[in-house]
Protein backbone atom coordinates (compact mmCIF):
# COMPACT_ATOMS: atom_id res chain seq x y z
CA UNK A 1 0.00 0.00 0.00
CA UNK A 2 1.34 3.37 -0.87
CA UNK A 3 0.02 6.38 1.00
CA UNK A 4 -1.63 8.77 -1.40
CA UNK A 5 -1.37 11.82 0.81
CA UNK A 6 0.96 12.89 3.60
CA UNK A 7 -1.73 12.56 6.25
CA UNK A 8 -0.83 10.03 8.90
CA UNK A 9 -3.00 10.13 11.94
CA UNK A 10 -4.68 6.75 12.04
CA UNK A 11 -3.68 3.91 14.32
CA UNK A 12 -1.81 2.22 11.50
CA UNK A 13 -0.07 5.38 10.41
CA UNK A 14 -2.39 5.74 7.46
CA UNK A 15 -4.63 8.71 6.83
CA UNK A 16 -7.86 8.73 8.74
CA UNK A 17 -11.12 8.33 6.97
CA UNK A 18 -14.42 8.88 8.75
CA UNK A 19 -17.68 7.72 7.25
CA UNK A 20 -21.05 8.96 8.45
CA UNK A 21 -23.59 6.59 6.96
CA UNK A 22 -27.17 7.36 5.90
CA UNK A 23 -28.54 6.68 9.38
CA UNK A 24 -25.82 8.59 11.19
CA UNK A 25 -26.29 12.01 12.65
CA UNK A 26 -23.80 14.53 13.96
CA UNK A 27 -24.59 17.70 15.90
CA UNK A 28 -21.69 19.92 16.77
CA UNK A 29 -18.19 20.37 15.46
CA UNK A 30 -15.87 17.86 13.88
CA UNK A 31 -12.22 18.29 12.98
CA UNK A 32 -10.53 15.39 11.31
CA UNK A 33 -7.00 14.84 10.13
CA UNK A 34 -7.93 12.99 6.96
CA UNK A 35 -10.98 12.46 4.79
CA UNK A 36 -14.64 12.60 5.63
CA UNK A 37 -17.56 10.96 3.83
CA UNK A 38 -21.04 12.09 4.81
CA UNK A 39 -24.22 10.47 3.65
CA UNK A 40 -26.07 11.17 6.89
CA UNK A 41 -27.13 14.38 8.58
CA UNK A 42 -24.80 16.97 10.02
CA UNK A 43 -25.84 20.02 11.99
CA UNK A 44 -22.72 21.95 12.74
CA UNK A 45 -19.31 22.58 11.30
CA UNK A 46 -16.91 20.20 9.60
CA UNK A 47 -13.22 20.59 9.00
CA UNK A 48 -10.96 18.05 7.32
CA UNK A 49 -7.33 18.22 6.25
CA UNK A 50 -8.12 16.02 3.26
CA UNK A 51 -11.30 15.65 1.25
CA UNK A 52 -14.91 15.99 2.30
CA UNK A 53 -17.54 14.21 0.29
CA UNK A 54 -21.24 14.70 0.87
CA UNK A 55 -22.93 11.95 -1.05
CA UNK A 56 -26.14 9.96 -1.27
CA UNK A 57 -28.84 11.84 0.58
CA UNK A 58 -26.31 13.47 2.90
CA UNK A 59 -27.34 16.78 4.41
CA UNK A 60 -25.00 19.27 5.98
CA UNK A 61 -26.10 22.53 7.59
CA UNK A 62 -23.16 24.58 8.72
CA UNK A 63 -19.64 25.62 7.88
CA UNK A 64 -17.43 23.30 5.87
CA UNK A 65 -13.67 23.56 5.51
CA UNK A 66 -11.76 21.09 3.38
CA UNK A 67 -8.04 21.68 2.97
CA UNK A 68 -8.21 19.74 -0.25
CA UNK A 69 -11.42 18.94 -2.02
CA UNK A 70 -15.16 19.17 -1.38
CA UNK A 71 -17.63 17.14 -3.40
CA UNK A 72 -21.38 17.63 -3.12
CA UNK A 73 -23.24 14.79 -4.81
CA UNK A 74 -26.34 15.10 -6.95
CA UNK A 75 -28.80 14.16 -4.19
CA UNK A 76 -26.85 15.73 -1.36
CA UNK A 77 -27.27 19.13 0.21
CA UNK A 78 -25.04 21.69 1.85
CA UNK A 79 -26.81 24.71 3.23
CA UNK A 80 -26.11 27.98 4.82
CA UNK A 81 -22.54 27.76 5.90
CA UNK A 82 -19.20 29.28 5.12
CA UNK A 83 -17.44 27.00 2.68
CA UNK A 84 -13.64 27.15 2.49
CA UNK A 85 -12.05 24.70 0.12
CA UNK A 86 -9.15 24.33 -2.26
CA UNK A 87 -11.13 22.40 -4.87
CA UNK A 88 -14.86 22.19 -5.29
CA UNK A 89 -17.17 19.92 -7.25
CA UNK A 90 -20.93 20.38 -7.14
CA UNK A 91 -22.88 17.83 -9.12
CA UNK A 92 -26.01 18.78 -11.02
CA UNK A 93 -29.03 18.29 -8.80
CA UNK A 94 -27.25 19.09 -5.55
CA UNK A 95 -28.64 21.66 -3.16
CA UNK A 96 -25.93 24.14 -2.37
CA UNK A 97 -25.92 27.54 -0.74
CA UNK A 98 -23.53 29.57 1.35
CA UNK A 99 -20.47 31.72 1.08
CA UNK A 100 -17.74 30.07 -0.93
CA UNK A 101 -14.06 30.98 -0.61
CA UNK A 102 -11.53 29.16 -2.71
CA UNK A 103 -7.81 29.39 -3.08
CA UNK A 104 -5.16 29.15 -0.43
CA UNK A 105 -6.69 27.92 2.85
CA UNK A 106 -5.07 30.51 5.10
CA UNK A 107 -4.38 33.63 3.13
CA UNK A 108 -1.67 35.58 4.86
CA UNK A 109 -1.45 39.33 4.77
CA UNK A 110 -1.85 40.36 1.20
CA UNK A 111 1.36 40.73 -0.60
CA UNK A 112 1.78 44.20 -1.90
CA UNK A 113 1.66 44.15 -5.63
CA UNK A 114 4.70 45.49 -7.35
CA UNK A 115 3.89 48.95 -8.47
CA UNK A 116 4.23 49.21 -12.16
CA UNK A 117 5.58 52.49 -13.30
CA UNK A 118 2.87 54.32 -15.09
CA UNK A 119 3.56 54.91 -18.68
CA UNK A 120 3.56 58.52 -19.47
CA UNK A 121 2.38 59.06 -22.95
CA UNK A 122 3.85 62.16 -24.35
CA UNK A 123 1.39 63.95 -26.54
CA UNK A 124 2.83 64.36 -29.95
CA UNK A 125 3.50 67.86 -30.97
CA UNK A 126 0.64 68.97 -33.11
CA UNK A 127 1.47 70.16 -36.52
CA UNK A 128 -0.70 72.57 -38.29
Amino acid sequence: MSPTRPVSNGANGQGNSVVLGPKDRLVGQLFIEGDLHVSGTVDGSLEATGDIEISGSGKVSGAVTAYNRLVVGSDASLIGGEVRVARLTVEDGATFSGKVSMGKPEPKAEEPKPVEPEQVIQPKAKRR
Binding site: L88, T89, V90, D92, S97, M102, G103
Partner: protein, 135 residues
Amino acid sequence: METQEAVAEGTASAENGEIKRDGRKQFSMGPQDIFEGKLIYDGSIHADGKVEGEVRVSGNIDVASSASVRALLEGANVTLKGQVEGAVTARDKLTLGKNAKLSGDIVVRRLQIDDGATLNGHVRMGDFESHTSGQ
Protein backbone atom coordinates in the same frame (compact mmCIF):
# COMPACT_ATOMS: atom_id res chain seq x y z
CA MET B 1 1.19 50.31 -31.96
CA GLU B 2 -2.13 51.05 -33.44
CA THR B 3 -4.86 48.58 -32.79
CA GLN B 4 -8.30 48.66 -34.18
CA GLU B 5 -10.98 47.29 -31.96
CA ALA B 6 -14.66 46.95 -32.46
CA VAL B 7 -16.09 48.68 -29.43
CA ALA B 8 -19.80 48.66 -28.89
CA GLU B 9 -20.71 51.42 -26.49
CA GLY B 10 -24.03 51.66 -24.79
CA THR B 11 -26.91 49.60 -26.01
CA ALA B 12 -25.65 47.22 -28.63
CA SER B 13 -27.29 46.77 -31.93
CA ALA B 14 -26.68 43.20 -32.86
CA GLU B 15 -25.98 43.76 -36.52
CA ASN B 16 -22.71 42.00 -36.95
CA GLY B 17 -22.76 39.45 -34.23
CA GLU B 18 -26.27 38.22 -34.79
CA ILE B 19 -26.85 34.77 -36.09
CA LYS B 20 -30.15 32.99 -36.16
CA ARG B 21 -29.99 29.50 -34.86
CA ASP B 22 -33.01 27.25 -34.54
CA GLY B 23 -35.21 30.29 -34.95
CA ARG B 24 -33.70 31.87 -31.85
CA LYS B 25 -31.44 34.84 -31.97
CA GLN B 26 -27.83 34.38 -31.00
CA PHE B 27 -25.47 37.23 -30.23
CA SER B 28 -22.05 35.85 -30.92
CA MET B 29 -18.75 37.48 -30.01
CA GLY B 30 -15.23 36.55 -31.07
CA PRO B 31 -12.04 36.57 -28.99
CA GLN B 32 -11.06 40.01 -30.28
CA ASP B 33 -14.44 41.61 -29.62
CA ILE B 34 -15.16 44.09 -26.88
CA PHE B 35 -18.53 44.94 -25.43
CA GLU B 36 -19.04 47.71 -22.92
CA GLY B 37 -22.40 48.80 -21.63
CA LYS B 38 -25.78 47.30 -21.03
CA LEU B 39 -27.35 44.65 -23.23
CA ILE B 40 -30.90 43.41 -22.87
CA TYR B 41 -31.46 40.81 -25.51
CA ASP B 42 -34.20 38.41 -26.50
CA GLY B 43 -32.03 35.46 -27.41
CA SER B 44 -28.78 33.86 -26.40
CA ILE B 45 -25.27 35.25 -26.20
CA HIS B 46 -21.92 33.64 -26.76
CA ALA B 47 -19.52 35.93 -24.94
CA ASP B 48 -15.86 36.02 -25.84
CA GLY B 49 -13.20 38.68 -25.77
CA LYS B 50 -13.95 41.39 -23.25
CA VAL B 51 -17.32 42.17 -21.73
CA GLU B 52 -17.97 44.97 -19.27
CA GLY B 53 -21.28 46.17 -17.88
CA GLU B 54 -24.54 44.32 -17.73
CA VAL B 55 -25.96 41.51 -19.85
CA ARG B 56 -29.53 40.28 -19.43
CA VAL B 57 -30.87 37.79 -21.93
CA SER B 58 -34.00 35.68 -22.27
CA GLY B 59 -31.97 32.73 -23.54
CA ASN B 60 -28.65 31.32 -22.52
CA ILE B 61 -25.30 32.91 -21.72
CA ASP B 62 -22.18 31.09 -22.67
CA VAL B 63 -18.80 32.58 -21.70
CA ALA B 64 -15.84 31.22 -23.67
CA SER B 65 -12.61 30.13 -21.99
CA SER B 66 -10.63 33.03 -23.43
CA ALA B 67 -13.20 35.59 -22.36
CA SER B 68 -12.72 38.16 -19.63
CA VAL B 69 -16.00 39.38 -18.21
CA ARG B 70 -16.64 42.11 -15.65
CA ALA B 71 -20.37 42.30 -15.72
CA LEU B 72 -23.67 41.45 -14.18
CA LEU B 73 -25.00 38.42 -16.04
CA GLU B 74 -28.55 37.12 -16.15
CA GLY B 75 -29.83 34.33 -18.35
CA ALA B 76 -31.73 31.06 -18.35
CA ASN B 77 -28.80 28.67 -18.59
CA VAL B 78 -25.44 30.23 -17.88
CA THR B 79 -22.28 28.32 -18.78
CA LEU B 80 -18.94 29.78 -17.75
CA LYS B 81 -15.63 28.56 -19.07
CA GLY B 82 -13.62 31.75 -18.70
CA GLN B 83 -13.05 34.48 -16.17
CA VAL B 84 -16.02 36.35 -14.74
CA GLU B 85 -16.16 39.08 -12.15
CA GLY B 86 -19.68 40.06 -11.18
CA ALA B 87 -23.01 38.79 -9.99
CA VAL B 88 -24.56 35.95 -11.96
CA THR B 89 -28.22 34.96 -12.06
CA ALA B 90 -29.24 31.75 -13.78
CA ARG B 91 -33.01 31.31 -13.97
CA ASP B 92 -32.38 27.67 -14.67
CA LYS B 93 -28.87 26.32 -14.39
CA LEU B 94 -25.38 27.68 -13.84
CA THR B 95 -22.47 25.54 -14.96
CA LEU B 96 -18.87 26.35 -14.02
CA GLY B 97 -16.49 24.53 -16.35
CA LYS B 98 -13.14 23.25 -15.17
CA ASN B 99 -11.27 26.40 -16.17
CA ALA B 100 -13.92 28.85 -15.01
CA LYS B 101 -13.04 31.52 -12.47
CA LEU B 102 -15.97 33.34 -10.94
CA SER B 103 -15.82 36.10 -8.33
CA GLY B 104 -19.28 37.26 -7.48
CA ASP B 105 -22.51 36.32 -5.83
CA ILE B 106 -24.74 33.89 -7.64
CA VAL B 107 -28.45 33.12 -7.62
CA VAL B 108 -29.41 29.90 -9.36
CA ARG B 109 -32.07 27.26 -9.60
CA ARG B 110 -29.59 24.49 -10.37
CA LEU B 111 -25.84 24.48 -10.02
CA GLN B 112 -23.05 22.38 -11.39
CA ILE B 113 -19.41 23.05 -10.57
CA ASP B 114 -16.77 20.98 -12.29
CA ASP B 115 -13.53 20.09 -10.56
CA GLY B 116 -10.94 22.74 -11.31
CA ALA B 117 -13.33 25.66 -11.32
CA THR B 118 -12.77 28.53 -8.91
CA LEU B 119 -15.61 30.28 -7.12
CA ASN B 120 -15.55 33.09 -4.62
CA GLY B 121 -18.89 34.49 -3.54
CA HIS B 122 -22.26 33.82 -2.01
CA VAL B 123 -24.43 31.10 -3.50
CA ARG B 124 -28.19 31.27 -3.23
CA MET B 125 -30.48 28.64 -4.62
CA GLY B 126 -34.18 28.88 -5.29
CA ASP B 127 -36.50 31.77 -6.02
CA PHE B 128 -35.32 35.09 -7.31
CA GLU B 129 -36.76 38.12 -8.99
CA SER B 130 -36.33 38.32 -12.71
CA HIS B 131 -35.48 41.61 -14.34
CA THR B 132 -35.73 40.48 -17.91
CA SER B 133 -39.15 41.42 -19.17
CA GLY B 134 -38.84 39.83 -22.55
CA GLN B 135 -38.32 43.02 -24.48
